[in-house]
Symmetry: C2
């Protein structure tokens, strides 16, 4: 029985994946990856040009992404069924194959990664190794050219799907912060930034470290939506010897 | 005039540095790195065996680490002088040399890294590139074998040097969290964990991803101090389809 190795791909630039991830991907016989139906898939795109010509590819297409609110029971049911099916598929592959299955995952797999849903369903049944990756947020704050956290700064990682009131309180009470899952939540995030008096220090980074990278102070960003790979961040200003 | 490239080394396992960092280090003519006086230096140890035989090494030895409380004016003055001198040294090297200077930095340079103190002193005078790395905390939570953050979990990164009251409040109000800079702050951190009712879910990871790695529930850890490379963490339990 073979095993599953989930490799963190890092923020997007293929040069930013780890030496171990790079080697595992170049030598892979079987790769699996999540993608939105009808798309090539971000994870798959990052490894373009690295794969063996005879690699077997297992795309795992989400039955739904943003079409149904995540809090709906329908969303839960569709996703639960999806993860159950894909877990069974990977397990069956492990039982049939000699070669390990390499699962591609953007960023760092255990940091809000979809693979975690397969991991908890499979970890008692098959050997699973996880290779950490550079998070998207590290790629983004490095791209701004401004250090993110100093001394005793508290860093808070927030999801843009949280209620505006919660976002506002968190932004008020922390030093440095990152908001992920922006997209259509951008107007709400902007409002929370204004209410917490952090708006003028906020940066928006889309496609950090990728060819399409865009970075600017949020005050210069006119649109009310942002691509999926967008992070809002405010840098810390903690203690430094001077 | 040459430039400075600061490379994030990741959590400690050399296989977890990025492809870009690996290549820059193997091809380096000049490397610089911080270390505690009298030690080999953690960053230098990570790259052992990777360096060209004729590399020039510039160790930058902290004048003080934990001997003086960080909030003392004396600590500030010593460190400010140290960073000023090392910034001048690297600038002079850049002006004299053709080859880029590779500065080694554990983890991710812009995430609480010492290099930031040189960066802000030099960024107007010399070209500086920063290569992000896998953070120590990503290495540590991956090593626990338990996913760190799910769905809308809020992640908070705390320094063990913060006052106990602040630590307690932050631990109470967040979902997942990490405490860095543990060492002699461990009794205080444990107390805050107990007061916030998070103690029984806490893990301690020392030397995550390195040969000396030790991982256990904090309740099984008897000592009152921990090595410098120790992180306390509590995993999130956010939304997941089921």
């Amino acid at each position: 029985m073979s095993k599953i190795i989930c490799v963190g791909l890092g923020p997007g630039d293929p040069e930013l994946m780890s030496v171990r991830a790079d080697r595992l991907i170049r030598n892979a016989s079987i790769i699996a990856f999540f993608r939105k139906a009808g798309r090539k898939g971000q994870a798959r795109q990052i490894v373009e040009g690295m794969l063996s010509p005879d690699v077997t590819e297992i795309p795992m297409e989400y039955p739904v992404t943003t079409e149904i609110p995540v809090k709906d029971q329908g969303y839960n049911d569709l996703l639960a069924q999806f993860y159950k099916e894909k877990a069974a598929l990977l397990l069956e592959q492990c039982q049939r194959q000699e070669q390990d299955i390499i699962v591609l995952c953007e960023g760092d797999p255990f940091f809000y990664g979809s693979f975690m849903h397969l991991y908890i369903r499979l970890k008692e049944q098959v050997d699973i190794e996880v290779v950490p990756g550079i998070t998207g947020m590290s790629g983004c704050w490095t791209a701004t050219g401004i250090p993110m956290t100093w001394g005793e700064d508290i860093l808070t990682v927030l999801m843009g799907t949280l209620p505006e009131e919660r976002l506002t309180v968190e932004m008020q009470n922390t030093d440095a912060f990152v908001v992920m899952k922006t997209g259509r939540n951008l107007p709400k995030i902007k409002q929370a930034l204004r209410e917490s008096n952090r708006f003028s220090d906020a940066w928006i980074v889309s496609y950090g470290t990728m060819a399409k990278e865009e970075i600017m102070p949020l005050s210069s960003y006119a649109k009310d939506t942002a691509p999926y790979f967008t992070i809002i961040l405010v840098h810390g200003r903690g203690r430094r010897p001077q």
